[in-house]
């Protein structure tokens, strides 16, 4: 399965018209120990670039920005009870949203792994 990356350090994988979105390990490492994740609810829709959640470490809050237009199908309930999972497995069990894509063509605007690696140096 192809993984796409945004400049806001999110990853996106797609099955049919459903995208799974999370933050990269690099982003999780930069944020430090995560203690809270505020998520939107199923049914909320948004456009690319909108703020769709907040991740808080001990020290500070950081916004999550939508990498694509879409609608939340499911917010990962694991993060409510165990936000620290975002440090342990941000690219695995600690995905943040399942999103119904509004415009699959927007995937082409995201980076591939090589592009993302170049971004984070």
């Amino acid at each position: 399965m192809t993984t796409y990356y945004s400049e806001e350090h999110e990853w996106v994988t797609v099955e049919g018209d459903i995208a799974t979105v999370g933050i990269t390990q690099h982003a999780a490492d930069q944020l430090g120990e995560i203690v809270f994740c505020e998520q939107k609810e199923a049914g909320d829709d948004f456009e690319k670039g909108d703020e769709i959640g907040v991740i808080e470490s001990v020290k500070a809050a950081s916004e999550i920005y939508a990498p694509l237009d879409g609608e939340v199908v499911e917010a990962n309930a694991v993060l409510e009870e165990n936000p620290g999972a975002l440090n342990e497995s941000p690219e695995g069990e600690a995905w943040i949203y399942k999103i119904k894509l509004a415009d699959a063509a927007q995937l082409e605007e995201l980076m591939d792994l090589d592009g993302y690696k170049a971004l984070i140096g």
């Binding site: 120990e33 808080e56 470490s57 020290k59 409510e80």
Partner: protein
């Protein structure tokens, strides 16, 4: 700030230990080490942690009747501070606000004062201009290191047995690993511990000797902030400033009885009036019911939806295991147990007014 941040005598050690360096009040300081803020916080609560606090201003006062003269600037009873004792206090302004908080020690032939890093440029001229006949000298050639936590007595006492015998808020001069240091049994974490003033050229050597103890690990400014917040201790610039009075800040415990009665310090009119009648607002502990941390600036509303105050310090408390905060609320809503709402990103989140501190202070009385 146009100048490059300054480095403390421990800079090379921080880098060697993997400290993540940030600019804090004009100083390049470690915010955390590889252990992380949570681990460093728990290290301090359970064992012992070493903090570099050399960015704070260390000042020597020499002259006749220094304690009495300090009483003209501070509402503390410094004239009766015994030799070998330290006392927390603050400079007040003519309106009864707090200019800075500080620790004053009576060192026998002089007084030793520690002030906040960002305010030394205010405090030192303030003392020079107002302490008539007192020589005010900032010392730049000494590091200041805090060893904090239940194992602090063992960490410091193994190298300096005299430190074991000290009580909370006592200060002595003694040798640690052959280096003459000023050792004070105090700190700002809510735990037992020491702050140790060390000649700069020996600071890394002495710090390494502490870190050689199995129970001592380095901790950064991140853990220092979450520790002091759980301990209910004010951070100047967040929780107290030129506009807040000590009574509003719930610091009346730090003003001794004689000074409360006699006055004779800047802003005494307001402070004595608030002591008698109560202040209009009060600094309180605020415990969010949910998991979302409430940061500085978050609005506090009463159950009916009216604004009653704002958060001044807020974070995640690693020992509490959830968010903790302090803030000012109007006096009518300051009772522990009162339910309030915190407006976080536009949404009302429930919280409760609680007594401070969030964790029991563990001082060696």
């Amino acid at each position: 700030m146009t100048d490059a941040p300054k480095r403390t005598p421990l800079y090379d050690l921080h880098v060697e230990l993997g400290g993540k360096m940030v600019d804090f009040a004009g100083w390049e300081m470690p915010v955390q080490y590889p252990m992380g803020i949570m681990g460093e916080h728990k290290q301090c609560r359970e064992k012992a942690a070493l903090f570099d606090v050399s960015h704070m201003g260390q000042v020597i006062l020499r002259g006749e009747n220094v304690g009495e003269k300090l009483e003209t600037l501070c509402p503390q009873a410094y004239a009766t501070l015994k030799e070998g004792k330290a006392r927390y206090g603050f400079f007040t302004n003519d309106d009864g606000g707090i200019m800075d908080d500080l620790i004053v020690s009576n060192a026998g032939d002089h007084y030793f004062v520690v002030v906040n890093a960002a305010l030394r440029h205010q405090d030192i001229p303030h003392m020079q201009a107002n302490l008539d006949g007192v020589e005010v000298t900032e010392i730049f050639d000494r590091a200041l290191v805090a060893i904090q936590g239940p194992a602090a007595e063992s960490v410091v006492g193994d190298l300096c047995p005299a430190a074991r015998e000290m009580k909370f808020m006592e200060t002595i001069v003694a040798a640690i690993a052959g280096v003459e240091c000023r050792i004070s049994r105090l700190g700002y974490t809510g735990e037992d511990g020491y702050e140790i003033s060390i000649p700069e050229d020996k600071a890394i050597e002495v710090s390494r000797a502490f870190l050689a103890h199995d129970d001592c690990e380095p901790a950064g400014l991140g853990a220092r902030d979450s520790l002091r917040l759980e301990a209910g201790l004010c951070l100047y610039g967040n929780d107290i400033d030129q506009s807040t009075s000590p009574i509003e800040a719930s610091l009346s415990w730090a003003i001794q009885k004689r000074r409360k009665e006699e006055g004779g310090f800047p802003g005494a009119a307001r402070i004595q009036k608030e002591l008698a009648e109560g202040a209009a607002k009060k600094l309180v502990g605020i415990k969010p019911t949910g998991r979302a941390p409430a940061r500085q600036g978050v609005e506090v509303q009463c159950a009916e939806g009216n604004t009653i105050g704002a958060i001044t310090s807020g974070s995640f408390g690693p020992t509490v295991g959830g968010p903790v905060a302090m803030g000012y609320v109007s006096a009518g809503h300051a009772k522990p147990g009162e339910t309030v709402n915190l407006i976080i990103r536009g949404k009302a989140q429930p919280a409760e007014i609680v007594a401070l501190p969030f964790v029991t202070q563990n001082y060696k009385r």
